[in-house]
Amino acid sequence: MPLAWSADTIVVVGESGWLHQPPTPVSISGFSGEADEVIRFDLTVQGFTNVPPDVAQYLLSGSNNGNLTGHATDKNNKSSLVNKSYTGATLRRQAHAFVDDFLTAIGRKGIGGTKIAFKADKGSSGEIYISDFDGGGAQAITSDGVIVAAPEWVTGRMALYYTSYKFGNADIFRHDLGTGKRTGVARHPGSNISPAPSSDGSKVAMILSKDGAVDLYVADADGSNVKRLTKTREDDSSPCWSPNGEWICFATKINERRSLCKVAASGGEVQRIPTSGISNPSEPDWSPDGKWIVFTSQMGGFDICVVPASGGTATVLVSGEDPSWGPNSRTVVYARRQGGRRVLSLLDVPTKQTKDVSRISGSNSQPSWAK
């Protein structure tokens, strides 16, 4: 009897437990308008839910007449976590900063000041945009009027890689957002697609067809010293890096089955990453803490799934495609279908809470979260 009792009350803290967490109850009061919306939004996509004060674990209160003042307390031990008045920038940014301060106080890493990049298609062409992680302040960073694809941030830099069809073929460029300077990285014959910079920014993985196959290559950040990592007749796609720069994960076909694989960035044997329970995986993204790979599976529709980085049983999270981890290794930005177009959404992986990112006109897809 005692054994049965203890089994029922064991709290699962292993990896699979992390994927099934209830939201943390908070009570939000005193804010209004845009500040209130931003605070609720930021908390929802980082695993909190707004409840009455008597059942909340944390109390967040304050005001935003002009500037924002915010207080956060832990209701259980009555300790004050944040007690601060914010000045400068915009009210929006002050609200993001307050939530970030609250998260820092409880030992977490906020995402309020982070950016995403994505592409917005209008008719037969598209442009690359950047915005706050919630879609605020979106601005086009290209104006070429051609097909573009697959923007990817360079970690810790205001720089992106992306594909552009400006000169006819799919070519890869690097774009420094500070200066606007763009340089060609891969302009080889055939298609140059799916660029992925390593987390230290020194290398770029990409899919090239110059040698007559659709294979994975790695090069220095400027595209020089190209090295071929795979040599198969299958179509490899969507490389991403392990945060330590050791591995490149990508999607391919092995023995007629679509699979996720990894190969050492320095070259070597291609290893399958098992994703039990799902089929047709593609678009992997490795979490910044190294623990997880989020990806898209296609089983009828498209689903966002997650699997331990070493492989194992995959968990289906929500309908959508092309996920990209946030720097908190917890929230994911992805694209989902809405009518004939796509919109970007944020997903808090442990609680599966979602919120749509504010949209710009056209179809928004292929988000990349700056880390």
């Binding site: 694809a149 970690t155 014959p189 040698d211 007559g212």
Partner: protein, 191 residues
């Protein structure tokens, strides 16, 4: 290390947001994409000292460098009747499509020496974007190999993929999907 990178990004982020809100009229700096000097269609009889690509016939045949394909005139009509269609998630050329491949190969064999061929691979709506971009290129390469086998000169055949960017039928049915899973042939002549 990670924290300092994030701080750096956030500082830049704040600076950028002031630009965005403070002086909204100021455009984001942007330079033209760097163009590349176009090369001529390689003449297999002249060794131009180009670095040999690492070909592996069992895996694929290297694509020649003819420079930017936008430097050519594109004739999409000439071989439109010979578009080749594929099965779902497949790059195999169906036996019923062999006549189209042979017709395109014959066209290239009788074309002037400065004419090149662009093979385009396209996909249906199913499959994610970059996966389809890779699959479309694989289809184009599959057709290029078939054209070479049918006697066309591979040094005048280049490829590109559009993934699912250029569907010709937006319907949800298998009949629509089947029309979109295709290879198209574009005749390139010097401008």
């Amino acid at each position: 290390m990670k924290a300092s990178k994030l701080t750096y990004l956030m500082v830049l982020t704040l600076a950028l947001s002031f630009v965005a809100t403070g002086c909204r009229k100021k455009p984001t700096p942007l330079t033209d994409l760097p163009a590349r000097t176009g090369e001529r269609i390689p003449d297999p009889n002249i060794d131009v000292g180009r670095v040999k690509p690492e070909g592996d016939p069992s895996v694929g045949q290297p694509i020649p460098d003819i420079g930017d394909i936008n430097n050519f005139k594109h004739d999409r009509a000439a071989l439109a009747a010979h578009a080749v269609h594929f099965d779902y998630d497949s790059v195999a050329i169906r036996s019923g499509e062999r006549a189209n491949v042979q017709a395109v190969a014959d066209f290239m064999k009788s074309a002037a020496a400065n004419v090149a061929l662009l093979v385009e691979g396209h996909c249906d709506e199913r499959g994610t974007e970059e996966y389809n971009r890779a699959l479309g290129e694989r289809r184009a390469l599959s057709l290029r190999e078939a054209l070479i086998s049918a006697g066309a000169d591979g040094q005048r055949i280049v490829t590109r993929t559009f993934g699912k960017d250029k569907k010709i039928d937006l319907g949800p049915s298998e009949a629509s999907h089947a029309k979109n899973r295709r290879g198209e042939f574009v005749v390139l002549t010097p401008k």
